[in-house]
């Protein structure tokens, strides 16, 4: 579903990704762990198409298309969801308006009929309920005045409504307390766990992986994947630290 080959990327002329290769087939939840500065967030930004990140070499194939042929909004419409480590506040735009327009833009791109206001509200209510988010929250402005935990929960509601084929979640667990972490983890399971979907889960901590239970875990260090294993690799990292695992690699 997602095939990254020998990816090199720079920010401000500084090489961050240095030959990263990774395959995530449909039905797989693949966790990426790694020390600070390894390039985890850069990988997420490059996949999403954030301005300022230059791909200098390599390729990414997503659902049969060359990802770099698509503009960021086209990547979203093709089924890629990028969960933000720091979700952005948009004053003056309500969550309901934002998500309805986003969903209908995606549907238009795919040649589907737009959802009516009523149909959209029904869908939003169902997905918000799944994440135990009050509909009143969805009527508020996008992320404005939301706590760190509320922002991450809102990201999951967005993911539920947009129903992507593949999610790249960049440290969705940072800034969450234990209860919110469980809700977000169970949200990922209920929205994305399916033989047709894939997830790239970027995280620092084992706690989220206790809930989500990845199929594979890869260690990203110095811009490359240096080791891939099963869920037990994350436990080993938690016990022994990155240095030991990196020395083994």
């Amino acid at each position: 579903m997602l095939k990254i080959e020998n990816l090199h990327a720079e920010v401000d002329g500084k090489a961050i990704l240095k030959g990263l290769s990774l395959k995530v087939p449909a039905g797989e939840v693949h966790a990426i762990m790694g020390p600070n500065g390894a390039g985890k967030s850069t990988l997420a930004h490059v996949l999403g198409g954030k301005p300022g990140y230059d791909v200098t070499q390599g390729s990414v194939e997503f659902r049969g298309s060359d990802l770099f042929d698509l503009e960021p909004h086209e990547r979203a419409a093709t089924g890629l969801f990028l969960g933000f480590q720091y979700p952005v506040e948009i004053p003056g735009v309500s969550n309901v308006q934002f998500l309805r327009e986003a969903l209908n833009s995606q549907r238009k791109y795919r040649g589907e009929e737009p959802l009516s206001g009523g149909e959209f509200l029904k869908l939003a209510k169902e997905k918000a309920g799944l994440l135990k988010m009050d509909m009143e929250m969805l009527k508020r402005q996008v992320n404005v005045g939301f706590s760190g935990g509320e922002k991450k929960r809102a990201e999951m509601v967005q993911m539920g409504i947009l129903d992507p084929a593949f999610a790249v979640l960049d440290e969705t667990d940072s800034g969450l307390d234990i209860d919110a972490l469980r809700i977000v983890g169970e949200g990922i399971n209920s929205i994305m766990r399916s033989p047709d979907n894939g997830v790239l889960l970027i995280t620092h901590y084992q706690r989220l992986l206790d809930v989500v239970k990845p199929d594979k875990v890869s260690v990203l260090a110095d811009g490359r994947i240096i080791r891939t294993g099963g869920a037990d690799l994350a436990l080993k990292l938690e016990e022994e630290g990155y240095d030991t695992v990196m020395a083994d690699a």
Partner: protein, 251 residues
Amino acid sequence: MPEAKTLPSRRDEAWRYSDVDAAARLGASALDQWREISVPAGTTHHESLMIGGCDPELHRIRINLGDGARAEIFAANAGADFTRLEVEVTLGRAAHFEFGGVTIGGGDTVREFVTTTIHAEPEATSNQTVRSVHWDTATGNFLGEIKVARHAQKTDAAQDFKGLLLDAGASANAVPQLEIFADDVKCAHGATVGQLDEAARFYMAARGLSPADAQRLLVQAFIGDAFVELGEEAEREKLLSAALEKLEGRL
């Protein structure tokens, strides 16, 4: 504001950022015409203006507010050529003046609001909110003069301007001018000019909104402030869509 017996020049403070050549095309006679509105004590005058056809336009309104009277003026200033709305208000005791205006557009056009708010009696309040969105080499101006007479105690006057420039060549000018002779008054004014939030644009793209859709939503949110005090929803929608129409086809 002095009445223009002759054509204005940019040396006049009230025409400093204006397009005096376009004003000249209107002719000196047009520059002397004022629409006078007298609002009796305790009553309300309300009007929405959609300004902007293909020719230069100048609108001058002079309002006299009786004690406890209220004037509400909302305007979308979106001409293809030079447009200027001038409002001069004199407030009686405990009267209120509400003004919400948007200038929006591209080209090399000047679109502007000029207000003179005269707090002549005590306890009157005024609130003015102007938003300017421009691209190409267009200019948006808000010249707002507030005068508070010596005995107009407990005056509460507020002015707020924000400019949003979509291209490097566009400009926005805010000139607040306060002339206060009373000593127990509140006069607040603020002015900022900025660009579209890049982080918000990428966030919106990542959720599937095209650059044009994202821009429209962000501009809509930005100019919405100017019409918040407009209670009538249908009227607010009409002004908003008149303003947003200008954006179509820009991206």
